[in-house]
Symmetry: C2
């Protein structure tokens, strides 16, 4: 049984052989740049693992795993423009390094190249299904990004609306990885559906964890600045739940903090965090996260595949959901 | 035999039924806005006409015709951002009306929706071929746009490099329209190849005409400002050919004009136009355009389809290439 590191190494090898170093350089160099910024390559590994549940090897799934990694990086390039982010993994973002126009156009070609990789699969009769599932995800990711931007200025965001937003923006791609791997392995609709549900719920649990860590995480271990969501007045699960549960007085206090931008940063983070603790919303978020993980695992149990192979996915999910807090 | 106006009306009807008015509004309203700015819908009509060469009706080709129109409009949205263009067909561009982030994200979702329409064809076994041809075109359009941007600052642009650039940026989409229609009609590879060559050469002739009209066109009839290419120091066929043929003195004069930006606009246009006339480069461009059209028509003659149906494409090409000058 291959280990996680083998999946990662095989994917990186495929990526190396299929590098984007071609003309025009101004278009493709930024693609290589963002693709090589690193990361754990979990999305492509999920494609390979899902495929390998039903097959002996996973070479056939490598082009599909590349499609999801290119898509993920496309979305980073364009999101970084929309968020005006200067840095990504400690390096300049594409538009900061190469300019806005290059950021837009290199992102566009990456989105197109995703389909190029889907077309590379040997099982030509599956291309239409793969493109359909991929497309459904890609539309959701755009819609999720739009809802996320809309929520910044909306005062009436509900928790269900928030959960739909993170399902679209984050969980849909994880779900798609598992769906693509299983469809390519012709695993049958029941297995595909259970793997999709596994992926979707892991994605939701992961985003819930990210919300918690952004506010309560260990600054040493958390990649981004702890308290970033609070400073950006993001309407996370924590905020929305606090608004639902807190006393009128505390709701007003939270509201005031969320409308303040010219402020001592540490003071604001400390005050908002204290309000979250008082109304135990971080505990409710952790419970929600656990529920998602539980649901995910129930679906994975239902998948008709060797237990030892499924264990790889259980382990990977456990690793993703570290429960540091 | 349906007339051009019937093809246009049927396409507009399909577009109406498949409007983009859904949630989130912030994402899809700009898509409807740009799609409804108008235009002659020549690209979708070309898909329908190519299909109809080999079939009795063209309903089956409507989703594919929609894919190319959505792609064309996607490229306008993102190109307008890259060109910092405030207006498109006399109306505010998407990013001017809705903001940069919306311009990027609505463009992205349009690119994704193209594939959605390709997936709608009833002949499921053709989806992979359609996506492959569409993708080849989409990559070329991005590469062409990159070359176009690169050429602005390059001093070593050759005429072959320029012709490749316009082939990618403009002609590839026209070629693709004809290819998609013919492939969907299962017209056979010889017919597909001749129709592709017809479309590519018509696209090149059309761009050559656009270069001429931009400098020598009738301001009343030409949609854009006449002289725009000269003021923007664009390295068109006219400029490159003049640089090849002119005396050292005139080359230097042209060079000086092309490096000048702070200048009386009419004076610059008049002077550069005079240099073009002196070295007869507009006549050479018109000859080149005629050659492309001739080649295009030779290929269309070779297509195995009823002459009366092919006449529709001859007529449309003649209408496109008006030879106003």
């Amino acid at each position: 049984m291959p280990e996680l590191s083998e999946f990662q190494a095989d994917f990186l090898q495929y990526m190396k052989v299929n590098s984007f170093s071609k003309a025009p350089e101004g278009l493709y160099e930024p693609v290589d740049y963002i693709m090589q910024l690193g990361g754990k390559r979990l999305r492509p590994v999920l494609v390979l693992m899902a495929y390998q549940l039903f097959e002996e090897t996973y070479d056939e799934a490598l082009p599909v795993s590349m499609a999801v990694e290119v898509f993920h990086n496309f979305s980073l390039v364009h999101d970084d423009i929309m968020d005006a982010a200067p840095l990504r993994r400690g390096k300049p973002t594409v538009h900061h390094r190469y300019g806005l126009n290059t950021g837009i156009l290199s992102g566009d070609v990456m989105l197109i190249l995703c389909y190029e990789f889907l077309l590379k699969v040997e099982k030509r009769h599956l291309v239409a299904d793969l493109v359909a599932v991929f497309n459904e995800m890609a539309v959701k990711v755009c819609e999720g990004q739009q809802y996320d931007m809309d929520f910044e200025t909306r005062k009436d965001v509900t928790i269900p609306a928030y959960l739909t937003m993170i399902e679209y923006k984050t969980a849909a791609l994880i779900e798609c990885c598992l769906a693509l791997g299983a469809i390519l392995a012709e695993a049958g609709s029941e297995n595909v559906d259970h793997l999709r549900a596994f992926g979707r719920n892991i994605g939701l649990a992961f985003q819930m964890q990210d919300d918690i860590l952004d506010t309560f995480g260990d600054p040493e271990k958390f990649g981004k600045k702890v308290g970033g969501d609070i400073l950006n007045n993001k309407k996370t699960f924590l905020v929305l739940k606090a608004m639902e549960l807190a006393s009128a007085e505390d709701r007003k206090a939270l509201d005031t903090w969320m409308e303040t931008t010219e402020v001592n940063e540490e003071e604001k983070i400390t005050a908002v965090r204290a309000l979250f603790r008082k109304w135990k919303v971080h505990e409710l978020a952790a419970e929600k996260m656990d529920q998602y993980q539980k649901t995910a695992f129930e679906h994975l149990l239902q998948v008709q595949a060797p237990a030892a192979k499924k264990q790889l996915l259980f382990d990977l999910a456990d690793q993703l959901l570290v429960r540091e807090v």
